[in-house]
Symmetry: C2
Subunit: 312 residues, 2 copies
DNA sequence: TATCTTTGTGTAGTTAACTACCTAATTATG
DNA sequence: CATAATTAGGTAGTTAACTACACAAAGATA
């Protein structure tokens, strides 16, 4: 038997090994059930135990209790209904709801199954108790689930996020991110389409600047400084992909613009926004913007608040 | 958030929780790759690392090294070939073999991917090192893989295995198990079909006895004592399902027959077998049977050895 | 009270592992 | 040296989870 390569990968192989182990366990469980001609599959176990314990339970309640997506529960319970182990009733109060219960056959089988499960339980106990396996698993779950490991990784990665000012590259990303943002919060006005399709003409050539947030080489946010009056700039076209929340991409873009404004000694910096976008407004306030009166002549319908950055 | 039902199940829920955790990790990994537009999927990771490390490797070598079934590896590597991350060459010495290697693009991507993986590695390290997670996983793997948990469970269950003598029930199992056994080791002779189809006429009514091994209510082995001369019995029709190896089912059936023979003070007990069935012959010797000459008139072609149990 | 939002269930499509079986090439054996 | 057994790669079918979306009922809100 060859050396196990995955083990040599250390923590990088951890996930794979966990999957391999759990797959193997589920597999051997299924094989055992099949060999013993028990008409049950490993994934039915939780549902069985839950209904034994609680009686009438709906599909989403089951999904919630056993920590699965509800379509998975539907698949499992449909099989169990087909095998006459459980039956479904309409809920008397909520006609959308199905409540599931063990049938008589299900309760009878329960005795048989519990005998096997009890043997499994005591075997696991005997082998795993010295390892404090349950306690360990609990801690693992906390590390990965509660802390949201994906988010955690992203935050680590975001330390390498860079804000770049570039007027020539990434125009396609500029368009895509802004349209995505507009579609999500408002709708695309004609003037948006015009400007976003041709940032060179409408922003750069008018003395403006384009900024991008880049994560791992990928553009994940944009903002533009657009010259309005001589030396007075509007901070606009702020758009951040919604795939990466919590990385403070917006904040970093703002700060880059403010630094740029100060460094180039612009005469003023303001922005137009909408009071419905509370998190954004809060961010603007946080970095120093203060509310000023809205003029009548803004080109966008969606703006109902104007803020400006007091410059020393 | 409701109390987690699976956790209340203790060791019974261990497998489910392990699966849930590993599924969640793989899922969030895939999502992260997708969000970052990396054209890689979680299961490609091991293959990537292996080829980076070793260069030219064949499909079965990969499967062996990362602990997966070879069709899974084929699926993964086909996707990687389609993405031009690896390429396949015929082995120069063995024309059945394909050797896989990273392409130039694959090597280039490797840099990019390793940056992410390194962040993952250090994040995992930071979170898991205090838990001694790798060490723990190693121990878990040993408990479940090396010890073959299914086998372990079966052995626990086999303590409840019972050998029953019954001439009326289970004739269908008697037929099925013996035919299964014959098809596996020899072929079904006409006389087998005759006897097995009607054990009442050919065994019971001739003064014989049928024995069954029952595990968890299911018949998993048979044997018969068939009266030949007056009070002299042949031990025959020994058949054990090949689903449950290592439970000493054959041994227990043998011992039940021997006890029965002694209790009823039979005049003799012998059996016919074939020297090719070494494990069986060894078992017969172990419980006390000794070889005697083979007569010319046995009804079965497959027998080339006769053994008898010396009775006090 | 009319409309919007949330909730409960269901379907379709994706991903990923497995076993069982197949063919062809290589190696072992009588 | 012919034939049998093993090995390498591949296909088909099974199981099981997920997300995304659809639709209807119930609840919230203007």
């Amino acid at each position: 038997m060859e050396r196990d390569f995955i083990k040599d990968l250390g923590y990088l192989g951890f996930t794979m090994r966990l999957k391999r182990l759990s797959d193997a366990l589920i597999h051997s469980g299924r094989k055992l059930y099949k060999d013993l001609d028990l008409e049950i599959e490993p994934n039915m176990f939780s549902v069985f135990k839950l209904l034994e314990d609680r009686g009438s339970t709906s599909i989403t309640e089951i999904a919630e209790a056993i920590g699965m997506a509800h379509p998975s529960v539907i698949a499992i319970t449909n099989k169990m209904i087909a095998k006459d182990l459980i039956y479904a009733d309409k809920d008397s109060e909520d006609s959308r709801k199905k409540v599931l219960n063990l049938t008589q056959k299900g309760r009878d089988k329960s005795t048989e199954y519990n005998a096997i499960w009890e043997i499994g339980n005591s075997a696991m106990h005997k082998e795993l108790n010295d390892l404090n396996a349950l306690e360990f698993l609990e801690q693992l779950e906390q590390v990965f689930e509660k802390k949201d490991f994906r988010q955690y990784l992203l935050k680590e990665m975001s330390q390498d996020m860079e804000i770049v000012q570039d007027n020539d590259l990434y125009h396609a990303d500029f368009y895509a991110l802004n349209i995505e943002w507009l579609k999500k919060y408002f709708y695309v006005e004609d003037y948006d389409e015009t400007v976003l399709s041709n940032p060179k003409k409408y922003i750069v050539d008018e003395g403006g600047y384009l900024f991008y947030a880049k994560l791992n080489g990928k553009v994940v946010g944009t903002v533009a400084l657009i010259q309005r009056d001589n030396g007075v700039y509007e901070l606009s076209k702020m758009a951040v992909t919604d795939k990466f929340q919590g990385l403070r991409i917006g904040y970093k873009l703002m700060m880059a613009c403010i630094d740029f404004t100060k460094k180039h000694k612009f005469n003023g910096l303001f922005l137009d926004s909408n009071t419905a976008l509370e998190p954004a407004i809060n961010l603007y306030r946080k970095v120093g913007f203060v509310e000023i009166p809205v003029p009548k002549d803004t080109p966008y319908e969606r703006c109902n608040i104007r803020m400006e950055l007091p410059l020393d």
